[in-house]
Symmetry: C2
Amino acid sequence: MTDSTRQRILDTAEQLFADQGFHATTLRQITREAQANLAAVNYHHGSKDALILAVFQRRLDELNSERLARLHSVLDASDPPDLEKVLGAFIYPALLLSTQSAGDGGRFMRLLMRAWAEHETQLHGAIARQYSHVMRAFADAVSRALGTSPDNLRQQLDFLIGALTYTMAETTDGQVEETARALIRFGCAGLRESALAEPRQTSLKENIA
Amino acid sequence: MTDSTRQRILDTAEQLFADQGFHATTLRQITREAQANLAAVNYHHGSKDALILAVFQRRLDELNSERLARLHSVLDASDPPDLEKVLGAFIYPALLLSTQSAGDGGRFMRLLMRAWAEHETQLHGAIARQYSHVMRAFADAVSRALGTSPDNLRQQLDFLIGALTYTMAETTDGQVEETARALIRFGCAGLRESALAEPRQTSLKENIA
DNA sequence: CTACGATTCAAACAGTTGTTTGAAACCATT
DNA sequence: AATGGTTTCAAACAACTGTTTGAATCGTAG
């Protein structure tokens, strides 16, 4: 292994941050549970703030690439794309990150929730920045599936993100698959209804994307 | 006034908790901005944890009674109740709490978000306990509007709560009304679609409410 | 074996935390 | 003016925070 201590700190920090929050979790607690020395955090990661960012960077990179890979696979399958499959490409990668931390399915979602509540901090900005291009890609895909402009879709996608984060944060491992299916059905209906409300946008100017 | 310092501490604590989180906010910061002495928090509220609970108690009591009042008004208007109006009775009171803290529309929602992330703490349990009977009332109302069993509706209502909390947490004051309308339309479509998926439940056993 | 860079470790650093204390100040009632 | 209960205040408390330091240990290449 390139660096075992660094990884162990990252893993236990992720778990403790999700359970207790960033400020409430102490470096002594992290290093004790990771069976490392107190100074190891500063040695391997520089500072506590840098550790927090590192915890997210690792997972968000994983989440983003998995989502985009599935999305492109869906886009290649049919044109216009199937809305259910587009939402599936958005939702299932998030569930994988949750269920892979065995025993606590909602941990990653609670971590995201905590990060999002940190509204005007470095963390919120960093996550928003890493999310934005993925969100744009999915907004484009949904707009093509519905035949509408992608402009007002960001809001409806936020509805979906909110529902996903909140619900999965307290879903136990067994119900994850069923909850995901219900969420996809719920979201598709909401998106289709919202698409009906605004005038169809079929002009070239908006739809070449 | 019965107690001005107590109220001032409650107000500034609410604001700082939403902006920075519970642990990151210090009693010295609260008392400084509230123009009170450091010991005033412990004198008036007992402890920092008790202050956190008090901040939520005040707002949740307000939110719950407003929601239930509007719900009963909707239930009295027609039978079966109008689904859009039921969701409106759920959503608008939350917006009022957000907009009444001028200049930062999403503050209360971020506060709720932070509280919800505190998963296995006293705070999470207290909020869930205060929410449960309201949730039950709205689940019953929605089930009557749709003509389905209220059993599986809790999950769809959680979708709505998640979308509401997440979206409003970053909605600026001006867009609040429009966002609420979009959310109601989105949620109604999702609920109606989910109702179609399961078999109609019209037996006496489930529907006497 | 030796030497050297990477890693670990115990100890200490200065600063901050929530809480407590006892005296001072306030304020209405006698 | 004197009383007694409520509220404020400055000061101190022990405990804990993230970070730094310099020596000890490790693993490996010369």
